[in-house]
Amino acid sequence: MSDLNKFTIADARDALRAGEVTSTELTEACLSAIDAADSLGAFAHKTPELAMERAKAADARLKAGDAPDMCGIPVGIKDLFCTEGVPSQAASRILEGFKPEYESTVSGQLRDAGAVMLGKLNMDEFAMGSSNETSYYGNVVNPWRAGNSDAALTPGGSSGGSAAAVAADLCMAATGTDTGGSIRQPAAFTGTVGLKPTYGRCSRWGIVAFASSLDQAGPMTKTVRDAAIMGHAMMGHDPKDSTSADMAVPDFEAMLTGDIKGKVIGIPKEYRMDGMPDEIETLWADGTAMLKDAGAEIRDISLPHTKYALPAYYVIAPAEASSNLARYDGVRFGYRAEMAPGDGITEMYEKTRAEGFGAEVKRRVMVGTYVLSAGFYDAYYNRARRVRALIKRDFDEVFSAGVDAILTPATPSAAFELGKEVSDPVEMYLNDVFTVTVNLAGLPGVAVPTGLDRNGLPLGLQLIGRPWEEGELLNTAYALESAAGFVEKPARWW
């Protein structure tokens, strides 16, 4: 068998259980694909010895008949997840050399299910970015190229390494995290599937915190079925995260019937933005028609506070980040700056943080510091939290009026060129205009690839579901995926 790295999770699982292939073979195939793809910059730390060790253990488990769905499946882990004994530095200089003494709950659940970690994936520093250009490791390059151009495109961010690795078949799937769109936007830019679960579904324990009330881990995969399988393995209650939901996680894969007859799909008018490219409009209309053809009822809806989601996010997320990132002070872990004679502890903090954080992280920590500072707390932070309540209320109202899921574009454009938007922070923030509402309301959302733009770049649609109903949401995504029939892959140039 050739091209073992191109398997989906579902196909690999079935082949492993049938004894047609071993995890060792799958893992070797992925490791060689990774070594041949250094120009993508997707893997920041490779762990081939560990991978081979886990693959052998998975093969033994498969032989013994004790194999969960993820057993023997080679995956990549975003660098934001703490992995025991393996560098975990959130793509930041300030965590240089940090090797956690513990494993994050989510990566631990995958490990215990027998999944094989191939290495740590590149990302935007502390998950702050939409183009993977803020990483201390350097850029990730999208495996997709526009037409005949050889210009390097962004894979999106912050889970850019995860998206690029899955799209380029370097791993069967990867973990991502999503604070404002960091799973769904890169998935849309790379023709892959990305699921952000309901807030509280995946434990945040051991994942480097960015904005604790918004952060949520999720799977990045080649298909909706794979998102169902891997999502199931990642979710579940964890006493170590007080916001983790003590609720049963259903068998999402068993819910993928493709039958969405009678389901009500909402089309929010506020997501039709001025200056939105025709191609996105067409993609959205086509997706709406596909769901209608599959038997869903299409309903125009209104989410009136949509416009205020990004500004509210850019108060709340930096505020929480400024608090979370206070721990990086050069004392307990990671980087400490060289001291000059006479420097005291304040100089140590200030130099360490100035040298250890990149420009975007510093910008957000300082904006967060400002909006939380005396005299501005009410005007900025409390006001943003009130607007957040209104944004959530918009969704509550449409769901209680009988809407089952909401269909929107995933991104306002296809992948753009690296270096193009990096100079204007506010321009960059607009990338998350369709995804950020979902984090503010704590809802599940999934990006599904449904078409190509005129340059042959993938475009995705987003489905937003009711809280805790990832199964229903994935089934609607499955119906959309089946109707769209997106099978294109990037032509290999790397």
Binding site: E350, R388, A389
Partner: protein
Amino acid sequence: MSIDTATAAKVAKLARIKVEEADLPALAQEFNAILGFIEQLEEVDVKGVEPMVSVTPQRLKRREDVVTDGSQPAKVLANAPDAREGFFSVPKVVE
């Protein structure tokens, strides 16, 4: 609301991030661009709306107030840039 270089310097100090004097005007300008974007929030009528505390209506769980962890100083110190005799080591704090 416009941020001047003195405010930018104060924010940098509060955040414990060293910013060179020469970089303060550019920083202030960036703050102003971002805060200008954020100021749209003033258009929203938020009268009678409580600031959101938790996005899910669940109550935070409580547990017994007991020791569940500990006795692993070597692991705690393993990643410290400077650790000596079982302690984190830092420059002099008090003269």
